[in-house]
């Protein structure tokens, strides 16, 4: 093995190219619509009191680019109200990276002007030397009710039921780059 493993310590920044903030929501009762907020910035700092994950994703970077009408609707007040709330932000309160590679992160998720405590679970990869940079990874997912955060648009389907589900699965993939102390 050319790479040396070591537990996470110190400060990390996110590799924006290899990181994403994804969402998936069911519509028409069956089909799932998936998208991402591509512009993600985050830091992961391990101190004496444990680790803190803090990040933000820019709503304008949403992967819905066309049709223009669809994009505008998603950015408008029925959903993100991006003009007033340009970012989705997260700040952790507790980070547990278990020996078996599983991760549990509890923290405050803010979408629009609503902040709620969420628990995300997933996995983490220990640091490895890759192309001369020390990298680690964190992959988390959680489910939220979008209406809790004020993303309330919906419509009745003509044959019954609602057009868009309330439950949204969030998937966060972060490649962490060790920062030189």
């Amino acid at each position: 093995m050319a790479t040396a493993l070591q537990p996470l310590s110190g400060s990390y920044a996110v590799d924006a190219v290899h990181s994403s903030f994804g969402f998936a929501v069911k519509y028409m009762g069956v089909t799932t619509f998936k998208g991402t907020l591509d512009d993600v910035s985050a830091t992961f700092a391990v101190g004496a009191d444990g680790a803190v994950l803090e990040g933000a994703a820019q709503v304008e970077s949403i992967s819905i680019r066309t049709p223009e009408q669809f994009r505008q609707h998603v950015l408008a007040d029925d959903f993100f109200a991006a003009d007033r709330f340009p970012q989705v932000t997260f700040r952790s309160e507790s980070v547990e990276l278990a020996d078996d590679g599983s991760a549990t992160v509890v923290g405050q998720l803010t979408i629009r002007d609503v902040t709620k405590t969420v628990t995300a679970t997933g996995s983490w990869s220990p640091e490895a030397e890759l192309f001369g940079t020390r990298k680690a990874a964190l992959a988390l997912s959680t489910e939220i009710d979008r209406t809790d955060f004020g993303l309330v648009w919906n419509a009745d389907l003509p044959t019954g039921g609602k057009a868009l589900a309330d439950d949204v699965t969030l998937t966060i993939e972060l490649t962490l780059l060790a920062q030189e102390a």
Binding site: Y27, M28, T31, F33, T66, P67, Q69, F70, A155, L157, P158, T159, A163, L164
Partner: protein, 184 residues
């Protein structure tokens, strides 16, 4: 057997016309889809111009009367049926008792650039067609995100969509065969 295809959109790159072409390819052997593309030639419905019957209106009535079934592909404008399509249905409704949709098997599909595939417009067209006495196939085919829904050959890219379209036109053709069997 001939199925008349009406797309409720006038523009050249209409996804609903593309959907009709995909439907034509999904029809069983011996069944043809004949598109009727003169919606824009219909005047606005107006009792004052009903007599003499405008030429395009007569053409539409004759085309529907001559067809064994009708397949309508509708977009959705502002959550409803496009005006040009509703206008055609209104012309077809006169006189109500002898209207050419009465007893005619009708199926409705729809494509839209948004997520929901004109599902509300489809429901409206089915409701109006049923009101006119058509034998409406109670199925829908909402093709959402229609700008990316077709492959290079014009077929529906999503296997689920393609299957649902085949099932829908299959049911429409089945209705025609039932009617033929009943009247034989």
């Amino acid at each position: 057997m001939r199925v008349l295809g009406i797309a409720g959109s006038l523009r050249r790159g209409s996804r609903n016309r593309a959907l009709l072409r995909a439907a034509a390819a999904a029809l069983p052997p011996g069944v043809e889809l004949e598109p009727w593309e003169r919606l824009s030639a219909l005047p606005h419905f107006d009792e004052d111009v009903e007599a003499p019957v405008p030429a395009a209106v007569q053409e539409l009535r004759d085309a529907v009367a001559a067809a064994d079934a009708v397949l309508i592909a509708t977009p959705e404008y502002n959550t409803g049926v496009p005006g040009v399509l509703k206008n055609a249905l209104d012309w077809l409704s006169r006189p109500f008792d002898g209207n050419p949709l009465r007893g005619k098997p009708v199926a409705v599909v729809g494509a839209s650039s948004g997520l929901f595939g004109a599902v509300w417009a489809q429901a409206e067209v089915r409701r109006v067609a049923a009101h006119l006495g058509a034998e409406v196939v109670e199925r829908e085919l909402p093709v959402g995100l229609a700008d990316d829904a077709f492959d290079g050959d014009g077929a529906l890219a999503d296997a689920g969509h393609a299957e649902a379209l085949a099932a829908l036109v299959g049911e429409l053709v089945g209705r025609v065969r039932e009617r033929v069997a009943e009247t034989a």
